[in-house]
Symmetry: C2
Subunit: 206 residues, 2 copies
């Protein structure tokens, strides 16, 4: 994280290019999605040489991660989840989410959620991030068609995002103050059904 | 909705008082909650006579409703839900939510959610509204202690709010484009378990 003192004189122009690249990347990822955006396009849009984009960020994955500006690293938070048997994965997911949100990262996460949902273009970027970075890990190894796996991942997201909002942002009581283990017991069965249960079974509509 | 032309000359001072009352009400309801806020206090805070608050809004319920500025009337949306047997109430709740969000009110609802979650004081006002106006109807007539009913209502809220965000605000596919009846089949069992099911039963944690 240290900046070589000798290069300080050149920082402002480098910072300027880096910021220009990130601004263009955020707009393009939000408008066209991750797949539809190329590094070449980001370079053209920010008036820098493609080599400069590589120099600052490496590849497209790293540029995307930098442009999303997450306050925590999903790969780290969900470490181990994608290798767990899907039949028992729900508890690990809820546990990981609660551990993260009850860590010192909470303040940054609440600010991220507020800032993101308050802005249409940031929400589009969040959609790409949730799909690419989070949900792909949550449903890794699940049987079924890609369409079914995506649908299951969306349902998991609906319960996890709703839980985060109600417990940490809107703060409805008594759920906001409930013990972690109680929350896990109440919510994990929902996540488990969305992952591997019957979605359209008997008793679904009465 | 028509304004008598003859009174136009006096409108600005009346509008001014009305706005001052609403501004004070929003701040006080957000900071102290509905129960902790009196009409007398709102009047004092906005430097108007208490009679003026009554003149513009009637009672505290009406002042609260006006200060929240909901784009739809929850009483109307949830009409009939509170009188349904709790054992079969989930489907009606999901159906009412989907019907509302897929009506012309959708644009206003998305804007309301964005504006509310983007602001800390508006979120506090939303918390009061969700508790007083929505959840009280959702869990009306449920057995159990008030604490248990509140917890169940919070869990219902976590799934409903998460569904609204994922389907209408973040727009994850394929859930955003799924047919209403499919969404009801997939999500209603979750809501039904939160309303009347075993929350801490076997299989909750594996």
């Amino acid at each position: 994280m240290s900046v070589p003192q000798a290069r300080r004189g050149r920082r402002s122009s480098g910072d300027h290019s880096r910021e220009a690249i990130l601004t263009a990347a955020r707009r393009l990822f939000a408008e066209q999605g991750f797949e539809g955006t190329s590094l070449r396009q980001v370079a053209r849009e920010s008036s820098v040489d493609p080599a400069m984009v590589h120099h600052f960020f490496g590849g497209k994955d790293e540029l995307f991660a930098a442009s999303v500006e997450l306050p925590a690293d999903p790969a780290e938070v969900l470490a181990g989840v994608e290798t767990l048997d899907p039949a028992v994965r729900a508890e690990a997911i809820v546990r990981a989410v609660l551990r993260l949100w009850e860590s010192p990262a909470q303040h940054g996460l609440v600010a991220y959620v507020r800032g993101t949902l308050g802005s249409k273009s940031k929400t589009a970027l969040m959609r790409e991030m949730v799909n690419r970075v989070i949900l792909s890990r949550v449903v890794a190894g699940l049987p079924g068609t890609p369409e079914e796996r995506h649908l299951r991942s969306n349902l998991v997201a609906s319960q996890v995002i709703g839980l985060m909002l109600v417990r940490y942002v809107i703060k409805l009581e008594p759920l906001a103050g409930a013990a972690q283990e109680d929350v896990i017991k109440m919510v994990a069965p929902t996540i488990q059904r969305y992952l591997t249960g019957e979605l359209d079974g008997p008793g679904a509509t009465t």
